[in-house]
Assembly symmetry: C2
Homo-oligomer: 195 residues x 2
């Protein structure tokens, strides 16, 4: 065994647990007690390592954003075409109707809904996070344009923002109880606008 004080917890694992908790329940609804249980930490370890509840939440949003953006980029790189990536991303929302109940939506969009522009630090973080997702959609749209699946005359950035908006709307509809069949039909219309 190495010398020195043993590490009592794995910060990455604790942060992941906190992120899952905030994603499921939102910021305000998550109590300190729930965080401590989920993270398996003492109050002092939490404050020492992650700061205040809001600072912990900011770290969770950053973790979610980085994970999601990397996953999207990887899927885009491996996709058969830009169009395939866009289709797959939108249709993936259909699966959320069948996932663990209740559906959790997107942590960043949920936080936009919960905080709006009421908290400047969070508003800036949310806006920057959505720009990261939009950036991946922009690459996908530009690739689909180069591949001839989306007219080159269309403004790629506006289409990327439209896709982000549609993802937000679709995930709210899933949270509102819309079933798989209807989500699938709505995605069909969303895709229509790109042609």
């Amino acid at each position: 065994m190495p010398l020195g004080r043993p590490i009592e917890f794995e910060p990455e694992q604790a942060l992941e647990a906190a992120m899952q908790q905030f994603w499921s329940a939102g910021y305000e609804s998550t109590s300190l007690r729930e965080l401590l249980t989920a993270m398996d930490l003492s109050k002092s370890s939490l404050y020492q390592t992650f700061g205040t509840k809001q600072q912990l939440f900011e770290k969770c949003i950053a973790r979610y954003r980085d994970g999601m953006a990397c996953d999207m980029l990887e899927r885009l790189q491996n996709a058969q075409s830009g169009w395939c990536f866009i289709e797959e991303t939108l249709y993936s929302v259909v699966e959320e109707t069948r996932g663990p109940i209740p559906p959790r939506g997107c942590l960043v969009m949920n936080s936009a809904s919960e905080f709006s522009q009421g908290n400047p630090a969070l508003a800036a973080l949310i806006s920057a996070s959505l720009e990261r997702f939009e950036g991946v959609f922009l690459q996908a749209v530009q690739r689909a344009q180069a591949e001839g699946d989306i007219p080159a005359s269309k403004d790629a950035r506006v289409l990327a923002q439209y896709l982000l908006t549609s993802m937000g709307g679709l995930r709210t509809m899933v949270k509102a109880g819309t079933d798989a069949k209807h989500i699938r039909q709505i995605v069909g219309v969303v895709l229509n606008a790109l042609a």
Copy 2:
């Protein structure tokens, strides 16, 4: 002065105040103290007249839904065409970027985001409320089809659900800080899908 015990408060006015409070801050973030201040009521009057916090919230969602659905129907009846109504409704979101800060979105969509399917009574109320809004969009789409502005071959109900989804997405983007210019451009793409 009429005989009898004077009415100490106006229930409709108190309910309106509670609705505005929940709309601005969400359910969980609204404390009992804030409700009592907004409604200008004592705790006992609140409980006696409106029941628990959740029961009050349900009454507020119903009030919001009825007001919004009536307003939409009236605007549809007075609109030059079904298409004009659809356009005006979507572009009205642009104004929310300029409204009182922070933007509040839609109380029903906000509640879907806050509660998802975690509370059966609220989930049912949210779902039924969105169906009311969808019903107005359905009438608008059918009218636009009869007027030749949307192809009759399209499934009107799916387009109505798509419009509802887009409204939800747009209002979340406004809460996330997207500015008027960008919202306007996204609406242009949303409308594209109907053609």
